[in-house]
């Protein structure tokens, strides 16, 4: 039972993690440390800081995110991430898709809760 649930949560988290990163960058560009610290606090996401960097790298290789280095007076050089044009488009499509999925899921959830 627990194994099944663990597997399922991994699949769900995996599906939404990249979307979370894209949405976190939607408003403005953010530097890596700050972005990671924000995402690890998202309830239920259950992600370690170390896990986020490979995901950011993959998104950058796919052309959805761009990165630039900037010298900082307060510490080491900071790497700023921002959404690319393609990244913004795919984020929008993914959000729309998730919204549709959520609506459908909620309808079923309400039935399920009634008989739980």
């Amino acid at each position: 039972m627990n194994d099944f649930f663990d597997n399922w949560t991994v699949q769900v988290r995996k599906g939404v993690l990249e979307l979370c990163i894209l949405n976190a960058l939607a408003e403005q560009e953010r530097y890596g440390y700050d972005l990671v610290k924000t995402l690890v606090t998202v309830p239920g996401l259950g992600v370690t800081e170390g896990t986020l960097y490979p995901l950011l790298s993959r998104l950058r290789v796919a052309g959805l995110v761009s990165a630039r280095l900037e010298e900082s007076t307060q510490g080491p050089a900071r790497k700023y991430y921002s959404l690319t044009k393609d990244g913004r488009k795919i984020m929008s499509v993914m959000n729309e898709y998730l919204e549709t999925l959520n609506r459908g899921t909620r309808q079923l959830l309400s039935k399920g809760e009634r008989y739980a």
């Binding site: 991994v10 988290r13 995996k14 993690l17 890596g32 440390y33 990671v36 992600v47 370690t48 800081e49 170390g50 896990t51 960097y53 490979p54 995901l55 950011l56 790298s57 993959r58 950058r60 290789v61 796919a62 052309g63 307060q74 510490g75 080491p76 050089a77 900071r78 790497k79 393609d86 488009k89 795919i90 499509v93 898709y97």
Partner: protein, 872 residues
Amino acid sequence: MPDWTQPAREEVRRYFARVRASLAESDADPDEVVGDLDRHIAEEIAAARLAVVTEEDARRILARIGPLDSQLCAEPRRPTPVENNRRQPKPKPWHVSLVLFGIVLPVITLAFEYFTGMCAALLFDPLPTLWHVLLVATVPFANFLVWRAVRNESTEAQTRFGWVNGFAFGIGLVYVLLFLPLTPFAIPGLIVYGIGLLPLAPLLSLIATLNLRYRLRGARGAGLRLPGLWSGAGLAWLVLLALALPSIVGEIGLRKASSSDAGTRMKGIRWLRALGSEDVLLRACYGRPKRVENIYSFGEPVTPEAARTIYYLVTGCAFNTVPPPKLYAGRGRWRVLEEEFTWDNDQAGDAVAGRVKGLSLASSRQDASVDADAAIGYLEWTLEFKNVSSLQREARAQIALPPGAVVSRLTLWIDGEEREAAFAGRSQVRTAYQEVVQHRRDPVLVTTCGPDRVLLQCYPVPANGGVMKCRVGVTTPLVLTQAEEAFLRGPFFLERNFTLPEDFRHSLWIESRGSLQAQGNRLSSERGKDNRFALRGRVADLELAGPESVVRVSRSGESRQAWVNDSRSAEPQIIRQRIVEAEAKLSGRVVIVVDGTRGMDQFYPAIAEALSKLPDGLELAVLLAADGFESICAAQKGDATLYSRVADRLRKIKAKGGHDNVPALLRAWELAAENRSGVLVWIHGPQPVLLDTAEELRQRLERRGGHPLLCEIQTQAGPNRVAEKLDGLDSVMATPRLGNLSDDLARLFNSWRGKSLQLVRERSGGDLPATTLGGKQTSLHLARLWARDEVLRLSAARKFNQAMQLAERYQLVTALSGAVVLETKAQYERAGLKPAEPASVPAVPEPQTWILILIGLAVFAPNLPRRRPRAD
């Protein structure tokens, strides 16, 4: 910056190594991730305000960062090959059709067109260069790559495949538009004959390309755009445009250059000189009217005649001096189409025109005999033509004769037998030739085509490796430079419609009783029959026209007279030749016209050097014939300073394109005619195209009666259309080329001062006793040379009938007469011609009179030509 302990460093290094290992199968960049983590650690240290980082600190920070969650980071697991094979679905129908129409059909179509040239032969050339072949080949290749990615459901490098597909789309779209007019015909062709698939190949493969793109996009995921369609297509169009640029520039230039407006025409010529492609121009020279020769042609094509003129104006050389363009790889069954393309439109005409495919010179020998004391030579040039094409061909060549020489024999081999020519009026022999050519029989024709030049025509050189052999006999005076020294130079090709194999050599054999010396190292000494001196050797075609083939003949300075009993004359007469020393008249004004055609640059230093040999006190004017004419030096008294200044100016001229020299000659004639002893010197390269009429120039030279004299000197072998129009005029003199240009010009300039040797030929009654005739008795060639002079004199006096009869009687090819060999007696009778008796023709060496009588007696009956059995 905090200090790190060694164990702390080791701890972090081990962590990074684990990260790298766990990312080995991931799409993430391990270096980038390690760099990011490094920065993250530095931020943590800075936030904790650590001065020294110990192993414990490192462990604490790394624990906070946590391990990489491989379940979240890793890509979905790919199936193993075994699983893959197990799950491999059967090929779907769309897979088969995409492979068929997107890959197989384009490859077959491309290969078919490349190897057969069918479309190029019938309509237009879709693959004008190898680059086009490669570009078209990218379509099936790109389709294959994308098809494979789609089949494997690969999500890797999709952006790259998007571009590749876009590139194929760009190329495909252009070819679909090109073949669009054929589509309505291709569909019924497909139904009826099954061959319509080839013209439809671009359309079908374009559909396949777009279908593959749709499927590639589907594999990428819903909502995700596949980049590269228009960017790839744009790149393809840019490449096509780059390949097309020379053709487009050439087409624009051609149309401008063939405009009826002189200004536009000149702009077009300059445009082509600066930017045009010679290949495009050459294609237009061989083009078929109303047929598009390549995919970038537009509008009405420029006619081949106009294109040939433009080609000369742009390049400075005739279109037929370079190999014909390789239009397409016509092979196999389509070879006939290729030959139709190179059909010889100038057959039996009076122009040499373009090189004919498959026709070449198989062998060439020149046998000469020199009578040094009489300063006369006789030379026979035997030529054998070979034709490897599948059509009968006519071999045509313009031949330069030695100065003052005349063609006195013409022989054709028919079925291994020698047949001699009939000599008659020019139009009569040409009509007879054309009549026989129409019936595809064996004639050979020689007519003059300018001062010291003749046109040789042989037909038919049989197809499929057949050969045709003929011989031209030339009687020539030697060029006397001193009483003890004379020069013999043989005939050579000025223009030809057949090719010469790369290693082709002419075989030369020259004999004399006096000693002979070769100018170059190509000829070596040999001992001839009867202890005669001889020179023999093999020379290349260019060398035949150069100083390498000029032979220096030693002679006795005492031999000043020669005579012959003229057996050709109706009345008994003796022809005498005297060598006289004439006091040269200093020319009052010399007007030099220098050709500005490309290729003349190399001769400007030699001309400049020769200018220093001009005598002081002479009035000099120099014109450059370039797009009209340009004055290099206005008429003025010359001295060393002026000559040096003009020489400097000449050396700096950069010759471009080809130019009509006639406007400069007309202006030069006016300048020379202002002075009572003016001379016009025309230094020029080949003039392969007559750009405008030379009639006005001829009129002036003809009507003024020998003054001013036009001395022309040609720098390189090649045709001279202007000189052709000045045939038969005694005021036009070709300067003999014996060595380099500077020396030959200096010899000409020197002839205007001091004394010069001249050969004077005259006749007297046949009743003079031999003892009263000074000098040596020589051969009948002396009588032939006298007759040649006489024909010129009678022509100048407009006594054309008398001149023509004289030429016929002495069997000479002159401006009024020609020589033709026909195949049968009936053909001769129909044309009203009589072939020369074998006993009456010259030979090497010339036989004595008594031998001729013996030969005449030995001939049982007139050697009437027998009809040659023919398969057709």
